[in-house]
């Protein structure tokens, strides 16, 4: 009989940028069971949100996660706006879409780079992150911050993108597209990348549905679920096309992200060109009353906020369900039965964001 061993993977581990512990119960090299131990980055954010003013909470929501920061504040603002019956001006909606899609490109490049690093392809990691710096330059020029933009506010956005800036941004997006066209085929067609990703960590369609996968994890398993299709911000005007793959392995998840980068660049460029002139934000008075479930499509999947206001400056309840939380059960399913050496690749193929999850 083979003895069972338990290997703690994390909380401080070279391939994980964030502390999560996976207790891997092993028989030889094979994983029988994976148990997550979380709580290392629990900050008590939901409770802090109740202590602060609901306008200050925009910046608190932005700091749920540093990678998809803009979309957290956007979702929070959309929730409050629906409670207060505010209509965001057209230009505000377009600017939100531009920043959100630029954020998605940066997040996907980051995730693909970390995936490349997880199987030891350091050169590719460096190349992808060099391209990502152009995106961060765009954010710095247009918003002032590299990762924390702080541009979203209740009723619209705080900053406008001038036509001169838009010209520069369009040129930089061309550069990003050009570099991606050079680098990403190397990621998709490389023999060693395929060896590490094709057929690894397979999540069948029915399991993905049963375990509640969201985002690229669900879309790589053939579930065509993308909240952008439902139409918020300026997406209805931009002809959004979702990306769906069917294989359900690490390679399919990578492929979904690669295709989404192209789609996001296309939409950001179209939004910059089509954005109508006019006000960027609408003024508001009063406090939010009632409850709402705000939804948005983040780079990692669908993000849900439950916001309950009671007519005072402070919210009564602020609840966050992030996409990585929904993707943890599918991850544990994928890890069961795999080899120990594949754990980093599978873990990074769902693009985990533990800071979001534990908030």
């Amino acid at each position: 009989m083979i003895r069972r061993n338990t290997i703690p993977f994390g909380p401080q581990h070279p391939v994980l940028p964030e502390p999560i512990q996976l207790r891997l119960v092993m028989e030889d090299e094979k994983i029988i069971e994976a148990l997550p131990a979380i709580g290392y980055i629990h900050r008590g954010l939901e409770k802090i949100a109740e202590k602060k003013d609901f306008i200050q909470d925009v910046y608190l929501a932005e700091r749920i996660c540093g990678i998809c920061s803009f979309m957290h504040s956007q979702n929070y603002c959309q929730g409050i706006e629906s409670l207060m019956n505010l209509t965001v001006p057209d230009r505000g909606r377009y600017l939100r879409t531009i920043w959100a899609e630029i954020h998605r490109v940066h997040s996907h490049l980051l995730a693909l780079g970390l995936l490349a690093d997880s199987f030891g392809f350091e050169n590719l990691f460096m190349q992808l992150w060099r391209t990502r710096e152009i995106i961060l330059d765009i954010m710095e020029q247009t918003a002032g911050g590299r990762v924390m933009l702080g541009t979203c506010c209740i009723g619209g956005v705080r900053k406008d993108i001038s036509s001169a800036q838009a010209t520069v941004v369009l040129r930089q997006l061309d550069q990003v597209q050009k570099e991606c066209d050079e680098i990403l085929p190397a990621l998709l067609n490389d023999y060693s990348v395929k060896q590490r990703t094709v057929g690894v960590g397979v999540l069948p369609r029915d399991k993905a549905h049963e375990l509640g996968a969201v985002g690229p994890v669900a879309r790589a398993s053939g579930i065509g679920m993308d909240y952008r299709e439902q139409g918020y911000a300026a997406y209805p005007d931009l002809g959004f096309k979702k990306v769906v793959e069917t294989a359900g392995d690490c390679y399919a998840r990578t492929l979904v992200r690669v295709k989404e980068i192209a789609e996001s660049i296309r939409m950001a460029r179209l939004a910059l060109e089509k954005a109508p002139q006019g006000p960027i934000a609408v003024p508001f008075k009063g406090n939010p009353t009632g409850e709402v479930l705000a939804r948005i499509e983040q780079p990692r999947g669908e993000l849900n906020f439950y916001i309950k206001g009671n007519g005072t400056r402070n919210l009564e309840r602020f609840r966050v369900r992030t996409p990585t939380f929904a993707n943890l059960p599918p991850l544990l399913h994928m890890l069961t039965g795999c080899q120990l050496a594949d754990v980093p690749v599978i873990a990074l193929s769902i693009d985990p964001c533990i800071s979001c999850t534990e908030r």
Binding site: Q12, I41, M126
Partner: protein, 176 residues
């Protein structure tokens, strides 16, 4: 010419994400990539605390990770330098009011360099690690001369670290 190795020429850095929102972490990882490329200062990012000279911590301390942070710190061989990256690591930042947050990392381990910002800019982080390398060298030469608890705050890239000013000028190694 001295043949003793200079630690400041190759400070090896271990990064620990304590209670961070990821903003500082991805900016720290961006330091390693071609645009900033801190390896030109000899700064190498390692995964094992036992190989490291500098501990870079992002995010504040909570009840669960305080012990992990102390463990990582204790495993680093002397002399060692701690850099608190970002406002959360320095004071707790926006999360200081949280029921679960103890505050800045100075509650658990001694800190040598504070780098402000939310998130810290990569240039400030680079400056913080270079200043940490100077303190590291000073600690190696005379462990008693530089006490932790008299930390340096990175304000402008030209500001000389106060701790390094305590040792004679000719002995200060040039980090770059």
């Amino acid at each position: 010419m001295s043949t003793t190795p200079k630690l400041s020429k190759s400070p090896w850095v271990v990064h620990f994400n304590c209670n961070s929102c990821n903003g500082c972490d991805i900016e720290f990882l961006a330091l390693l990539t071609p645009h900033y490329d801190v390896e030109r200062f000899g700064i190498v990012h390692v995964g094992n605390p036992k190989h490291a000279d500098v501990l870079v911590v992002t995010g504040s301390v909570n009840h669960r990770n305080a012990r992990v942070l102390k463990n990582v710190y204790d495993q680093i061989p002397d002399p060692k330098v701690v850099v608190a990256m970002g406002v959360c690591a320095s004071t707790g930042g926006i999360f200081a009011d949280g029921y679960n947050v103890l505050g800045g990392i100075a509650k658990v381990i001694p800190v040598d360099v504070y780098v402000p910002g939310c998130a810290s800019r990569p240039e400030a982080m680079m400056d913080g690690i270079v200043k940490a390398a100077v303190i590291l060298e000073a600690k190696r030469r005379n462990p008693k001369a530089v006490q932790a608890g008299q930390p340096v705050v990175v304000r402008t890239p030209s500001a000389a670290p106060a701790a390094a000013a305590a040792i004679p000028q000719k002995e200060i190694p040039q980090p770059c």
